[in-house]
Symmetry: C2
Subunit: 84 residues, 2 copies
């Protein structure tokens, strides 16, 4: 079984209104020192061990569906684990 | 300067409709082998080096605002980096 962790973030040049709102909320609490907040997505996928070429498969899933490559960057970690 | 990476995931026992939709979408493409998808949030926070007790601050931010501790788990990584 493969556990895949996918991290999707907005590209540096893209405005992040959701991050701005979180920053304002933190400032309005006692956390006035927060300089920047960027909000992204995190996904955990489970794939069976029978999948061939996991890395290429995950790359294609990210590129075609999970992320929007025009405005987002993605990275992933693939862990093979033994099912219990 | 501190770079903080926060990972927020739904607790195992909580249904994840967004994850189900992503799984269905992957199945309707050629990725029929995907067994499970869980969708969470990923945030990057920037804090100045002057902040005292970073870990306690981040813990409190997560607990009070960033995550909903009733249905979500969170973990974070704190990296100290030198501003360029």
């Amino acid at each position: 079984m493969y556990k895949v962790k996918v991290y999707i973030t907005l590209r540096e040049s893209v405005l992040d209104p959701q991050g701005s709102v979180v920053k304002q909320a933190l400032h309005s609490m006692e956390f006035k020192s927060v300089e920047d907040v960027r909000v992204g997505k995190y996904m955990e996928l489970t794939l069976p061990s029978s999948v061939e070429n996991v890395e290429a498969t995950v790359e294609e899933m990210c590129h075609r569906l999970l992320a929007n490559p025009v405005i987002e960057d993605y990275r992933y970690e693939i862990e093979e684990s033994v099912a219990q």
